[in-house]
Amino acid sequence: MSRRQIGFLVRFALLCCIFYIPIAIPQVARFSVDPFTRGLAKLSGGALNLLGQQVVTMDTTIRGAQFAVDIRNGCNAVEAVAFLAAAILAFEAPLWLRVAGAIAGSILLELLNVIRIVSLYLLGRYHRDLFDMFHLAVWQTVMFGVAVLIFLVWTSRATRHAVASR
């Protein structure tokens, strides 16, 4: 393992820990993660209503006549965003490129997360037998897999940019 790789891994691990703070400390979560999760629930509820599902969003819960989902940590993709932001910010590249990459990547992940919530609601309502598998294994793996793909796309562009600016 090269020194650069070790440096990247150490920075990545440290940033993962730092980005975990908003999830871990309730006083911080109250002003950061919680309002974000409520907004995400509203957005997902709106998307479900567009699909004709007639749901009501209350706090972090999306409720229909036959099924309801409560969005909590692990379902709001904050952990996948923290993971992606940590990886991008740990990579050796110009600061503005890292910040732009982290922001753009996070937005993409959260858009994907709206699809996840909508699909889980629909699975819960129409295919309850598949809900647990998709909720636990499929979507969580997809979120991190996509986070890695976004990181790979970003690193290839960041490397190209670094070569071009030499």
Partner: protein
């Protein structure tokens, strides 16, 4: 990049199929491997671990320790990401990629028993009512709770990514000339 995405999705499907097929069998092995780690903490040392479906049940061998159920499958599904990431690499069946895959898989599998221990400590520190209060302080309960949350939310995937990233060089580096 498109082919990489296709390979990743194929890897995800294969990984999911493998995990679903062998999860219960794997949990039995995981329980056996994790059991010696429980001897590190006297409070939970007097116990047996028994795999029951998707869970591992901590069965007390003393009368004092309460029984606990651990969500074993929720601690092991990061292997799906391992398969997906290595399937996404160029030439996924090459010797070098398979070697890197084996190393990463070994790292991930060695960490899983530690994940079981962390989950057990968190469960006993926070979910056993009066027993928890009698045996764990507030700070310790908080630490175990967040150790488990961190591991399950970020850590178990961070380890996969870190190991894959490091071994990616191994799987992509040119073959030495003879």
């Amino acid at each position: 990049m498109l082919w990489r995405v296709v390979r990743l999705i194929a890897g995800l499907v294969v990984g999911l199929a493998l995990w679903m097929s062998f999860s219960d069998v794997w949990n039995a092995g995981l329980a056996a491997v994790a059991h010696p780690l429980f001897k590190l903490d006297r409070r939970i040392a007097e116990s047996d671990l028994v795999a029951v479906g998707h869970t591992i049940v901590v069965q007390p061998t003393s009368t004092e320790l309460p029984m606990a159920t651990l969500p074993a499958s929720e601690l092991t599904y990061n292997v799906i990401l391992v398969v997906a990431l290595f399937a996404s690499n160029r030439a996924p069946f090459s010797d070098r990629n398979m070697k890197a895959f084996a190393i990463t898989l070994l790292v991930v599998l060695l960490l899983q028993p530690i994940g079981v221990l962390i989950s057990a400590e968190s469960t006993y520190a926070n979910q056993q009512g009066a027993w928890s209060e009698a045996h764990y302080g507030n700070a310790e309960s908080w630490i175990w709770l967040h150790a488990e949350l961190f591991y399950r939310l970020i850590g178990m995937f961070g380890v996969v990514f870190g190991a894959w990233w490091v071994t990616a060089d191994l799987s992509a580096s040119p073959r030495p000339q003879k």
